[in-house]
């Protein structure tokens, strides 16, 4: 076996199939897309080479800057919410519910099983105002808080928060289970010792539990950031970037540029920026976590 694995040809043979697939499915489209960003046009109209013009235009594009900012804002809030609430839930499972957490765990995990489109339908009904009041508005109205009854999805600010709440709700169960797996790995005697030293609740979490699961926590943050920066389907399904463009994140703007405005080159340019953003964020966290593990 040893001899086989030392043979360069054998190694090549083993990795070749996956390399070919990776090359065809990931690298080629990426390079292709970067190539498109130097062109203007669409498959219907044909393409013309315009050099770096797309990259120059993009910085004076108010809509792009707005989307860029929205993406970052969304990623920060949703990642914080998902991972923080996931951690709180995981600690809750381990410290409070202990062996009886199965049912709760399953229930909270459940939304991630649902398709984003279904969840978006659910939330659009929850926050509905017309033709009839949705659950949220009905509750507000029955509590005589009529000044709060509003079109949650009808104005940019509140629609953004509805998306944030929806995505946190949808995936916090996933992060809870992820972190839970790390938590049950902490030796019971260690917790016992900490308790004997008088650490309880918040102190126990802060000084014992979190340092113990740090590597998993960092993976969770990378997972979450990458997911949230590239959020697409839940936004499209809930607001389609609206009202107007007030919830149009980078991915949605990229999609609209390429497929609605029929500007493939410009859409590709937006995609390149998204790629760079994801790379920077991932590298940053990776470096940070490396240092930490060492």
């Amino acid at each position: 076996m040893q001899r086989v694995l030392r043979d360069k040809r054998a190694i090549l043979l083993f990795i070749l199939p996956s390399l070919v697939i990776y090359f065809a499915a990931v690298l080629v489209p990426t390079v292709w897309s970067i190539g498109y960003s130097f062109f203007e046009g669409s498959p219907v109209r044909g393409f013309t080479f315009i050099g770096l013009n797309n990259y120059l235009d993009i910085f004076s594009d108010r809509q792009f800057l707005n989307s860029f900012w929205l993406s970052i804002k969304y990623a920060v809030f949703v990642t914080t919410g998902q991972v923080f609430l996931g951690l709180v839930l995981a600690i809750f499972y381990v410290l409070v519910l202990k062996r009886f957490s199965v049912l709760i765990r399953t229930l909270i995990f459940f939304p991630i099983v649902l398709p984003a489109v279904a969840v978006a339908q659910l939330f659009s009904k929850l926050f509905e105002i017309t033709p009839q009041l949705g659950l949220v508005n009905s509750i507000l109205s029955s509590l005589n808080l009529d000044m709060w009854v509003q079109a949650w999805l009808g104005s940019g600010d509140s629609a953004f928060w509805v998306i944030v709440i929806m995505d946190i709700w949808r995936s916090m169960g996933f992060y809870a289970v992820l972190l839970y797996a790390g938590l049950i790995d902490i030796p019971e005697d260690l917790l016992e010792a900490a308790r004997l030293d008088g650490a309880n609740g918040i102190k126990l979490s802060r000084f014992v539990i979190i340092p113990m699961i740090r590597p998993i926590l960092i993976s969770a943050i990378i997972f979450s950031l990458n997911g949230t920066l590239k959020v697409f389907e839940s936004v499209v399904a809930l607001t389609n970037g609206g009202p107007g463009t007030s919830t149009s994140m980078l991915t949605v703007y990229m999609y609209h540029s390429a497929f609605a405005y029929n500007e493939y080159g410009y859409g590709s340019t937006v995609a390149v920026f998204l790629l760079i953003l994801c790379l920077i964020v991932t590298l940053f966290i990776y470096k940070f976590s490396r240092k930490d593990v060492d």
């Binding site: 669409s42 498959p43 219907v44 109209r45 991630i112 099983v113 649902l114 398709p115 984003a116 489109v117 659009s124 509905e128 105002i129 017309t130 033709p131 009854v149 509003q150 079109a151 999805l153 009808g154 104005s155 940019g156 996933f174 289970v177 992820l178 839970y180 797996a181 790390g182 049950i184 790995d185 030796p187 389907e233 389609n240 970037g241 609206g242 009202p243 107007g244 463009t245 007030s246 609209h256 497929f259 609605a260 405005y261 029929n262 500007e263």
Partner: protein
């Protein structure tokens, strides 16, 4: 302990993979289900991509005609109107246009004409011998929309646009049918004060908002306002345009559109009007099909009136000029035009005007040879209005490219949700039009 954790992780990742895959395939099924059907379009079926399902709009006429006169089957794929242009452009890019499809006249169609992807309808209809059935006015309108490139679409609808109103509500509040914009606003104020929502506006669809802006614009500058903008003869940041945006914005601010107009879709808006929850509803005459639907119309056909966009102070527009359009048009793939399609087109369109009138009370861009006797009051009303028309205006975005159109529509939602000012609305548009 470690093993257990590992197993748990593994189980979780596996379950996620399964979930991921299943939700993916589910999505594919929901959007692609029809596509598989279309992919398999055999010799015996005709693939028609529509914004309606088999019972919506004028589609029942196609279905009946296909069933009665041909051996083919009509395979209808339904897409939302907001995705229509995009979907067709993608299909066109991959040389796989459906045999027949709904589409937007104007810029999007012009691109397909330039790409030589759509059938020359004038030539085809003349060859089949049914060109004479087309209403010359409708043909003119479509040719104007295609930028003078010719007739590449079938005018399956011919629409006037204006305000539909609930006669009973008007009577109860002592409101006369308004002829000036101010009268209309006064009426709205009276209704609003009495707890009746004046207008049902499907803001979620975006274009119903820009139609209102356009209504004011075409009264202020006349029917060619938007065409003049695209020719550079008028500046869209001029006072009349800003005032138009301002009017619509203040109507929204005053609560005339009710709460959350931006979340109301087309169906919900028409239901609102048909259930008597809103007094007025700006829409094209295609809405008559919905008005005739007894399950939906709870206020009764006799209770619905129509008035043309009222005139505005200082404007040049007059009441014999209407906002007009040919609705969504039907176009055909040039590549897939063969004897089968020829037969189908002849079957469906040889007496299309009569059938649409008889079955659905729809006014189309086809001549009606025999006016049915039991014609509905609404259809009669509109037929009479059409006789009044001296000149027609196109809709707001008719001459915009895809991006400008999107900006006009997106920003319209922001305009009525109080996020941008009328000046900004028009100056953003001006930037794009340049």
């Amino acid at each position: 302990m470690k093993k257990k954790a590992f197993q748990l992780m593994l189980a979780m990742i596996l379950s996620l993979l399964v979930v991921g895959c299943s939700s993916n395939s589910e999505n594919e099924e929901s959007t692609g289900g029809d596509e598989t059907a279309s992919g398999e379009t055999g010799e015996e079926s005709i693939h028609y991509l529509s914004t309606n399902n088999a019972s919506g709009g004028e589609v029942p006429v196609y279905v009946d005609q296909t069933e009665e006169k041909t051996d083919y089957e009509l395979d209808i794929e339904t897409v939302p109107q907001t995705d229509l242009v995009q979907k067709i452009q993608l299909l066109s890019a991959s040389n796989d246009l459906p045999e027949a499809f709904d589409f937007e006249s104007g810029k999007p169609l012009q691109e397909l004409i330039d790409a030589d992807a759509v059938l020359d309808v004038e030539k085809a209809f003349k060859e089949i011998g049914i060109y004479e059935n087309l209403n010359p006015g409708a043909v003119d309108l479509l040719k104007r929309l295609s930028g003078g490139k010719g007739l590449y679409a079938v005018p399956t609808e011919l629409n006037l646009e204006g305000f539909w109103f609930n006669k009973q509500i008007f009577e109860e509040h002592g409101i006369e049918v308004p002829t000036t914009w101010d009268e209309m606003l006064n009426a709205a104020e009276t209704l609003h004060e009495n707890g009746v929502q004046p207008f049902a506006v499907a803001g979620k669809e975006k274009w119903p908002i820009t139609r209102l802006i356009n209504a004011y614009v075409m009264r202020y500058y006349g029917v060619e306002a938007m065409e003049k903008v695209s020719r550079g003869e008028l500046d869209i940041t001029d006072e009349g345009f800003v005032e138009a945006a301002n009017q619509v914005k203040s109507m929204a601010d005053n609560g005339y559109f009710g709460k959350g107009a931006n979340t109301l879709d087309a169906d919900a808006a028409v239901d609102m009007f048909l259930q008597g929850q809103a007094a007025m509803y700006y829409m094209g005459t295609w809405a008559i099909a919905d008005f005739h639907n007894e399950d939906r119309n709870q206020i009764g056909v006799d209770n619905i009136g129509f008035f043309n966009v009222p005139t505005v102070e200082g404007g040049v527009g007059t009441l014999d000029e209407y906002n007009m359009n040919a609705g969504l048009i039907v176009a055909f793939s040039k590549d897939k035009y063969d004897d089968k399609m020829k037969e189908w087109i002849e079957a469906v369109f040889s007496d299309y005007g009569d059938r649409a009138m008889q079955d659905l009370g729809l006014i189309t861009g086809f001549n009606v040879n025999e006016m049915p006797e039991d014609i509905s009051p609404l259809t009669k009303l509109i037929s009479e209005e059409i006789d009044n028309v001296t000149n027609g205006a196109l809709w707001f975005e008719a001459n915009f490219d895809a991006r400008t159109k999107q900006i006009a529509e997106d920003n319209a939602q922001l305009l009525i949700s109080d996020s941008i000012d009328p000046e900004v609305y028009m100056s953003e548009l001006a930037k794009e039009i340049e």
